[in-house]
């Protein structure tokens, strides 16, 4: 379809502003731009149709099943959107005097109380704008803690399991730490011996997801955090998988010192095609003094990871969500997320095999390496064929410790009918791989586009439109 620039006709426009009612001031010639930016010139009706057409080429969680593992694609309630858009919030300047923003402060305080209780932590910030940004903030808490105790020079290493999200090692690197990767045990959990072997006086901390990235709750968690603390290190909880355990078990009780939670996963705020999200960071009392603050809002010498109060609008949506679910609804959501995952795993079993055949948490991983050897059909081929069935593919090729991985996270907001249907589609595709692998190599067949040539996109990058 056309780009908005290709719909542009010089002179078309919307009438948005009145004429200027004060004397017009021109920029001095030396400061003026030489040519106007080639922004589109369109009518409002064309503008509306252009984006409506684009919107049709998007699959959102509110349009269909979206079991993207590790991403918690649960239904995003409309009331949360409506509350965040209230003029009493949307029109508030971040630097308005404190006595005029009592409602905003109450919202932040209320959400902080909720999060501290769910996390099992003592304090919390909403300045980080995303999960990875929260990781950065959390590890900086650890860094400041060691620096304040005069151990900054000595503690140079952050331990990360090889099953971790790529953001964990990248975060440790951004915080000036050397990354020590440790291999996982055969069950996907932390290998205690491998951990002990790398712990020492140079350990700054451990970054861990629990349940881990293969969807298993690490039963040794108390021993793991104890071992890290024993050598003077701190434990960072990557809250990517918090949806499995919220209201059931708290990261603070597992022995973690700080945590980030992706409000756009666990607390149902929409992903928006890749953002804005929010990464709430909670911590125990001994790290509270190191939380980030805005310089313009009186932050003094505090660290700061973003301007003002972070993605306040996203925080409001999460607050509305927790308020709705309350003390009963939060664990209910977690338990049904886990139930749905296990139900779907059980229904698929016998065709695509689970990488770890056991009760899972909110997500599970299928290992297609044997299937690929037998049929030549890869995880990618299965993913692309799923598109033809109107459901979003699962996460593929993650975690790295499982080859040909498909990672499914159905979430609690799916009905049993949807899970039954999805399982049937998976089972049928399994059979299809033996009968007609070629069809699957060429999928999708009914999407807006066929498979894109991503080698070309990267070898000869075209990253903007230019007039022909």
């Amino acid at each position: 379809m056309k780009l908005i620039f290709e719909r542009s006709v010089p002179g078309r426009h919307l009438d948005l502003l009145p004429a200027c009612d004060v004397e017009l001031i021109e920029l001095p010639a030396a400061l003026k731009r030489e040519v106007a930016p080639a922004l589109p010139e369109v009518s409002e009706s064309e503008l509306s149709r252009h984006y409506t057409e684009l919107n049709k080429q998007v699959h959102g969680v509110n349009s269909g099943f979206y079991p993207l593992g590790s991403c918690t694609m649960k239904y995003n309630p409309r009331i949360d959107e409506e509350m965040a858009a209230l003029p009493g919030f949307a029109n508030i300047h971040p630097l308005a005097p404190a006595h005029t923003t009592l409602g905003c402060q109450e919202a932040l305080e209320t959400t902080k109380k909720y999060m501290c209780e769910i996390f099992g932590m003592d304090d919390c910030t909403f300045q980080p704008a995303a999960g990875a940004h929260g990781e950065f903030t959390g590890v900086l808490l650890i860094k400041q803690y060691h620096d304040a105790r005069g151990e900054g020079q000595q503690r140079t290493k952050i331990i990360v399991p090889d099953s971790a999200h790529g953001t964990n090692p990248a975060t440790a690197n951004m915080c000036g730490y050397q990354v020590v990767n440790i291999a996982s045990a055969p069950d996907g959990c932390v290998d205690l011996e491998a951990l002990k072997a790398v712990l020492g006086p140079d350990t700054a901390g451990l970054m861990l997801t629990n349940p881990n990235t293969v969807g298993i709750f690490d039963e040794n968690i108390l021993e793991i955090t104890r071992l890290v603390h024993e050598v003077g290190g701190l434990c960072y909880y990557d809250g990517a998988n918090l949806n499995a355990v919220m209201g059931v078990v708290r990261p603070g009780d597992m022995g973690f010192d700080c945590i980030h939670s992706n409000l756009h996963k666990t607390f149902a705020t929409p992903h928006g095609g890749g953002g804005p999200g929010a990464g709430a960071v909670g911590c125990k009392a001994h790290l509270a003094a190191y939380l980030p603050k805005s310089a313009l809002l009186g932050g003094g010498d505090s660290i700061q990871v973003r301007s003002f109060n972070g993605n306040f609008g996203v925080v409001l949506k999460a607050m509305t969500y927790v308020m709705t679910l309350g003390q009963e609804g939060i664990p209910e959501a977690a338990k049904n997320a886990v139930l749905n995952a296990n139900y779907l795993q059980a229904k698929i079993k016998g065709t695509f095999e689970p990488a770890f055949d056991r009760i899972c948490m909110h997500e599970f991983v299928l290992d297609l390496s044997k299937y690929k050897k037998e049929t030549g059909v890869s995880a990618l081929d299965v993913a692309k064929t799923l598109i033809d069935h109107g459901m979003h593919p699962p996460t593929i090729y993650f975690p790295l410790i499982v080859h040909e991985a498909l990672m499914l996270e159905p979430t609690e907001t799916e009905t049993r009918e949807t899970l039954d249907w999805a399982a049937e589609v998976y089972r049928n595709l399994y059979e299809l791989g033996f009968k007609d692998p070629e069809y699957m190599h060429n999928a999708p067949h009914s999407a807006y586009i066929g498979r894109p040539d991503d080698v070309r996109a990267t070898r000869t990058p075209v990253v903007r439109w230019t007039k022909a």
Partner: protein, 438 residues
């Protein structure tokens, strides 16, 4: 209580049975018993949608909504065209994830490709990423991308937004790199001081245009000095001003960044906003974050997908220089719709009207005895005045529904946009005059 779990109790029991379990607790058999929560969380009980709507609306009602906002300092009250509010609210755009599966997310990919083109047009640069969290983090990411093994030091102008300086300082603390602040002189970056500071270990220099005091920097002269010393030049630009202002490319910038909240996003007490980042082709592979590229699909038709992914954390892991793995896609969509709604002439009009209103306000305020401009340079839509009785003035304005300027070091930083009518500005001036005369 409210719940979004669709299954009935009967269904749940059947599903448990189907996997061979009797109780939810069996699902959590790996959780050590001492940490399994049997007691409820210490948060309130859930509520119906109507009760929640009432409770949250009551909270919003505790804020004072000003009918006129004459305060900026990094967050600007511009007019938001109606269509800009509705398109991003469409549920597919709103509720999709990052476009990993191109065949199911062409709409998002194309909208970001269009956004990247608009940022290139506004800045004059060759390549834009899909956006980052906000203007301050964009500045910090820019500083990181400019470093190499030999050049590690970042210089930043004291006339930049304090939140930006503080954020860049924090990112430098992370990687154990040094940040040095270039002093300001008469409200602008001190060029002579900068020249002294351009040692061979300097990787990049950041200035803001227009700067925190609203003043235009001598951006080209600064760029020449930076390049003469072999460092990279990063300009943080107000994108509204770019509708009329000389582009960072024409000022010699290697990286252009900025806060794009002013292109259609509500103030929302500080976020969500959007940081834009653009650079030259030469530095394209150092640019962090998502980048969308044009390609063809298996049928040979034009299509869009994630490009240059090997720069990113999910592949480079501990070798990645940034951990960013998302963008502000919905905000990028807002920028796309806003820029299409206003067009080149409309954006120029927003910029010119904002500047004209600010100059009118400055001129009228300075007619009041005791009030004068703190700095003499050319300014855009913000300016600092020295004035008496700041607290009383702001309080009187507040009672009239007007949010006055921001008290800053040595004065008050005012801002006007196209939304402020002459009548409102005259009323503001009258109130200030009355309070000052008391």
């Amino acid at each position: 209580m409210g719940s979004y779990v669709p299954s009935t109790q009967a269904e749940r029991l059947e599903m448990l049975k189907a996997i061979g379990l009797n109780d939810y607790k069996d699902l959590y058999r790996d959780v050590p018993a001492e940490m399994y929560l049997d007691a409820p969380l210490n948060i309130p009980q859930g509520m119906s949608e109507m009760e929640v709507a009432n409770a949250v609306s009551a909270m919003a009602a505790k804020n004072k909504v000003f009918s006129t906002i004459l305060r900026g300092a990094g967050a600007y009250d511009h007019y938001i065209p109606s269509i800009v509010k509705y398109i991003p609210a469409k549920e597919e755009f709103l509720t999709a994830y990052t476009p990993y599966q191109a065949e199911m997310s062409q709409g998002i990919l194309q909208s970001i490709f269009e956004y990247q083109t608009m940022i290139c047009e506004l800045t004059g640069m060759d390549v834009s990423n899909a956006s980052v969290y906000d203007g301050a983090t964009a500045a910090a990411e820019a500083a990181a991308m400019c470093r190499d093994r030999k050049r590690r030091v970042t210089l930043i102008s004291a006339a930049a937004n304090p939140d930006t300086i503080s954020t860049v300082r924090t990112y430098c603390y992370g990687t154990n790199d040094e940040l040095r602040v270039i002093p300001a002189k008469d409200g602008k970056t001190d060029l002579e001081a900068l020249k002294e500071m351009l040692t061979p270990d300097v990787a990049s220099v950041y200035i803001q245009q227009p700067n925190f005091n609203g003043l235009f920097e001598d951006a080209e002269a600064i760029g020449e000095a930076v390049h003469a010393a072999g460092a990279m030049y990063v300009m943080g630009c107000n994108p509204t001003a770019l509708g009329i202002m000389k582009t960072p490319k024409d000022c010699g910038a290697d990286v252009a960044v900025g806060e794009a909240q002013s292109l259609g996003m509500p103030l929302s007490y500080g976020g969500p906003y959007l940081g834009f980042m653009a650079t030259t082709t030469k530095h394209m592979r150092k640019l962090p974050g998502r980048i969308i590229g044009e390609t063809v699909d298996s049928k040979g038709d034009r299509a869009y997908c994630l490009a240059l992914q090997a720069r990113e954390q999910h592949i480079r892991r501990e070798k990645a220089s940034s951990n960013i793995c998302s963008n502000e896609a919905l905000c990028a969509l807002i920028v796309g719709v806003y820029c299409s709604a206003v067009g080149p002439d409309g954006l120029a009009s927003v910029a010119t009207q904002s500047m004209s209103k600010a100059h009118y306000l400055a001129k009228e305020l300075c007619k009041i005895p005791g009030i004068s401009m703190k700095y003499t340079g050319e300014f855009f839509h913000e300016f600092v005045v020295e004035m008496p009785k700041v607290d009383e003035v702001l309080k009187a304005l507040e009672e009239a529904g007007i949010l006055g300027g921001l008290p800053v070091d040595g004065g008050v930083l005012w801002c006007a946009t196209e939304k402020a009518s002459k009548a409102v500005l005259d009323k503001t001036v009258a109130i200030v005059k009355e309070v000052c005369a008391k």
